[in-house]
């Protein structure tokens, strides 16, 4: 091992592991159940015939048939073929807030005290978890300045969808929802801020950024009208630039009778520093799986914690969790509720982990999280800008909040090496690098977000990785263009990724599509 190397001599395991259905052997079993003893059989019968007819499967499910050891090996091999926050310096997945999520919280969440609960239990038997839900609501009220939270949305986009539903319900109650059919957002807001209201039936107007990367007041004024239903906006945006005129935005929207929804999915740089309330928002949400460490998995388990001001509590999904000074209870008496956006009360393990994370840090700790996240980001910004071919469009010479959307455009112009090529080469050193939400307004984009969890040494290691790949791009671009060389897969043709005829996300879909093409 050469200790002077800042970049590891990494090589990922490559198992060439088949899909589990392909290694299935008919009749192979992980567990062989013993015959039912006759005493038991006398009392309950065969255990199946007493089930109602309509609950008995006519055909057994098509599950893979394997012994325990085969299953264990299969998943261990797959796990060796991944990268992730527990394994590598995972700061390349910008906008996702990849941080360390304490393992003790995982233990708490997987404890039978929680995992054995059933959502249909009587509330008197689940006072503990209701207290956790209620108190997390109180914490988030303090953090946002808003008046009530629900944890029912199972992710950020669902929280945005719920906000769009609330906006519609509000205008409905004023007999204005037909006239007000437009939602305003910005290009650098999360794309779901436009997509979710669109699904709700709204026409969405997106504002392009100005030279500084910010939406202009004049552009907003062009977008608003008597048809405006509301504003759904991310701040700070994906560029890591905080919109300093955000109060002016809410003033203009309120001025035309619209409702303001704040996308604070990623609030990692602003905890204890700025709040939805002071920016005069009516609705807002946090992703517990980003800022609040629940953690950010590959798409879950997630929670979009949705908060509202007093005036909008009556529209929230049911049930709300309340406390009458003696006991915690479900409140279904929400007069203009938008109904449910998801079954039951939300992703309870995520709620518990976020609660525990906040409890362990306290209010000073939360503020420190943001301060360190911002410090880390600005250290990284300085170091990235020293790399040949890298740039950070917009807000030149200024600090950023928690992340930065960078560009490899200069590198591309000089070497022909693209963001995609660099991503593929970075995995050869055990790193991940993500590009951008679509559309690619920033050319050859990449987005880094170091969060508070990473040490200076780790940030330096990532920088060394970028530098190494850039050196290669200038000296031997073919090497980078044909990467990865030391990963699970080598250079692959990515065309099939967006061809529905050629990809499948389940085995069943795979068989269906394969047979069709045969």
């Amino acid at each position: 091992m050469n200790r002077r190397n800042k970049v590891r001599n990494f090589h990922q395991a490559k198992w060439d592991e088949p899909v589990i259905y392909e290694i299935s052997n008919e009749g192979e079993r992980g567990i062989l159940f013993p015959e039912i003893e006759s005493e038991i059989q006398k009392i309950v019968g065969d255990g199946i015939s007493k089930l109602p007819e309509n609950m008995i499967r006519k055909q057994p499910p098509n599950l893979p048939e394997l012994s325990q050891m085969q299953v264990l090996k299969h998943y261990l091999r797959l796990s060796q073929q991944t990268l992730g926050a527990d394994l590598n310096v995972d700061i390349g997945q910008g906008t996702c807030t990849m941080k360390y999520s304490p393992k003790i919280n995982e233990k708490l969440a997987s404890s039978p005290k929680l995992s054995e609960l059933h959502p249909s239990q009587d509330e008197s038997t689940v006072q503990g978890i209701l207290e956790v839900i209620y108190k997390l609501d109180l914490f988030l009220r303090e953090i946002s300045g808003l008046d009530k939270f629900t944890f029912q949305p199972g992710g950020g986009s669902q929280a945005i969808f719920a906000m769009a539903s609330i906006i519609q319900a509000y205008h409905d109650s004023n007999d204005e929802s037909e006239k007000r059919d437009e939602i305003i957002s910005t290009m650098f807001s999360h794309p779901s801020d436009a997509a979710a209201p669109n699904v709700k039936g709204y026409k969405v107007i997106n504002i392009y950024p100005n030279e500084d990367g910010l939406p202009d007041i004049e552009a907003l004024e062009k977008a608003v009208s008597e048809r405006t239903a509301g504003l759904l906006i991310t701040n700070p945006e994906d560029t890591g630039i905080f919109n300093p005129k955000i109060r002016e935005f809410t003033r203009i929207i309120h001025g035309v009778g619209g409702i303001c929804g704040y996308d604070q999915a990623n609030a990692n740089g602003i905890l204890g520093i700025t709040r939805a309330k002071e920016a005069d928002f009516d609705l807002s949400f946090f992703n517990l799986h980003k800022t609040f460490s629940s953690p950010h998995g590959c798409g879950g388990p997630a929670t979009g914690a949705l908060g509202v001001t007093k005036e909008f509590i009556k529209y929230l999904p049911v049930p709300l969790v309340e406390f009458d000074k003696e006991k915690y209870y479900f409140d279904y008496d929400v007069p203009k509720s938008i109904g449910k956006v998801r079954s039951f009360y939300g992703v309870v393990p995520a709620i518990l982990k976020a609660y525990s994370w906040i409890m362990s840090l306290g209010s000073d700790g939360l503020k420190e999280v943001s301060q360190i996240a911002v410090l880390n980001n600005n250290y990284l910004l300085k170091k990235v800008l020293e790399i040949r071919g890298a740039s950070a469009p917009y807000a030149k010479g200024k600090h950023r909040i928690e992340q930065v959307r960078y560009s490899w455009e200069e590198l591309y112009q000089e070497t022909g090496v693209t963001t995609e090529d660099i991503t593929c080469r970075m995995v050869d050193f055990g790193f991940h690098m993500w590009s951008s939400h679509h559309p690619f307004i920033v050319p050859q984009p990449f987005t880094l977000e170091p969060t508070e969890s990473y040490s200076k040494a780790e940030l330096d290691e990532y920088i060394a990785g970028l530098k190494k790949v850039v050196e290669e791009a200038y000296e031997n671009p073919e090497l980078v263009k044909n990467a990865p060389h030391r990963s699970v897969v080598h250079k692959i043709n990515t065309d099939s990724l967006d061809d529905p005829a050629r990809w499948a996300i389940t085995w069943r879909a795979y068989l269906k599509k394969k047979n069709k093409t045969l």
């Binding site: 906008t95 996702c96 290009m187 436009a194 669109n198 039936g201 709204y202 026409k203 969405v204 107007i205 997106n206 504002i207 392009y208 950024p209 100005n210 030279e211 202009d216 004049e218 552009a219 907003l220 062009k222 977008a223 590959c298 798409g299 591309y412 112009q413 022909g416 995609e420 991503t423 993500w434 590009s435 951008s436 939400h437 679509h438 559309p439 690619f440 307004i441 050319p443 073919e478 043709n493 990515t494 065309d495 990724l497 967006d498």
Partner: protein, 371 residues
């Protein structure tokens, strides 16, 4: 094996740095040379060729002699098939036209050319849209949309094409400006037609991004949005372009791609109208005008749609202008605002600032316009 025809216009771009606004015609070339202009086209072409030279064994490269392609192709590492004959050092527009025709007869899969609007127009005149074409941008005037945004990208796109990864084509505008008039300060741009170019799909990685539907999809979405919102009391003036054409196609109406058409209550009133005819139709009636940015530089007015004159716009009213554009078109401008050059400064000023642009079904953006 793909057959690629290569045309390098060796003198393209020469007029640029010496301020001649173009290099069309022999006299201008002589003047450019006397002002010390150097060739830029070969060097830029080389960049493009080098981007896909690693695929040379999968390509049959056909080109014209000497500085119309042969020299550069050999320098880049290709072993091209050379056909035709030229007067070395004295190539003209006719050579470009002849080469285009010759290549077409050999059933090429792609015509790669290095030049500017003049070269694009020559190709368009010679062979129309019978083969797929791609421009390496090396000219002075580049109002057309047939070029990749830089030589390297042109090369990358050729590589994708050769590997069979280009599954979609796109119609791109061929525009040209009368250089003589331009030199004396008058811009008179004309939309001459469309060439088929490979459509570059973005290959996006990462679980948080899906790739975008095609430009055609968005054009149809835009058309649906417009049609849903059509007001029975208004005449609709439909400007030139493929995005506006999609409205006519969705309504199953006959139309002109390069001209201005007029509809009322979803029926065609008249097509390919000039300014005078438009004014006659519009007089005293309520109307809306639907336009889309034309060409590679994002001109909303004054390039390729001069029929829509300041008088026509005043008749319609600025508030009744509906702008449509696909996201791809907007993003290809790299943040540059839309441009207006209507011929009336006051009107240009009125139209500049932020404008609303319909980009899809129930989707629009607010984008900057300048003059």
């Amino acid at each position: 094996m793909k057959k690629i025809g290569l045309i390098v216009n060796p003198i393209a771009g020469m007029g640029g740095k010496v301020g001649l606004k173009g290099t069309d015609g022999i006299d201008t070339l002589a003047k450019a040379k006397s002002l010390g202009a150097e060739q830029v086209s070969p060097e830029r072409s080389m960049k493009a060729l080098k981007s896909f030279v690693s695929l040379r064994h999968e390509i049959e490269l056909i080109t014209y002699p000497s500085d119309m392609g042969e020299n550069i192709a050999r320098q880049a590492g290709f072993n091209p098939k050379v056909i035709g004959s030229i007067k070395e050092g004295k190539t003209t527009a006719d050579d470009t036209k002849q080469a285009s025709k010759d290549f077409c007869e050999l059933n090429i899969d792609l015509l790669l050319f290095a030049g500017g609007d003049g070269t694009a127009l020559d190709i368009c005149k010679a062979i129309g849209d019978q083969v797929v074409v791609l421009g390496i941008p090396t000219g002075v005037k580049m109002h057309s949309a047939v070029y990749a945004c830089n030589p390297m990208k042109a090369g990358d796109l050729v590589a994708l094409f050769v590997q069979g990864k280009v599954t979609e084509l796109k119609e791109a505008e061929v525009m040209d400006i009368d250089e003589e008039a331009f030199r004396s300060g008058v811009v008179s741009a004309k939309l001459y037609g469309y060439l088929k170019i490979p459509f570059e799909r973005r290959h996006i990685q990462g679980m948080k991004t899906g790739s975008l539907p095609s430009e055609k999809y968005f054009q149809e979405a835009i058309a649906q949005e417009i049609i849903d919102d059509m007001d029975e009391d208004y005449l609709y003036v439909i400007g030139p372009g493929t995005t506006t054409r999609s409205i006519m196609e969705k309504l199953k109406l006959d139309n002109t791609l390069l001209g201005v058409d007029l509809i009322y209550q979803k029926k065609l009133i008249d097509k390919d109208l000039n300014e005078k005819e438009l004014l006659e139709h519009l007089s005293g009636k309520k109307a809306k005008l639907i336009i889309t940015p034309i060409g590679g530089q994002g001109f909303l007015l004054g390039r390729g749609n001069q029929q829509i004159s300041p008088k026509v716009i005043n008749e319609v009213g600025v508030d009744n202008i509906i702008i449509v554009a696909t996201r791809q078109k907007i993003n290809s401008l790299n943040g540059q605002p839309f441009l207006v050059d209507s011929g009336d400064n006051e009107l240009d000023r009125k139209l500049s600032g932020y404008v609303k642009v319909i980009t899809g079904y129930h989707e629009s953006v607010v984008y900057k316009t300048a003059f």
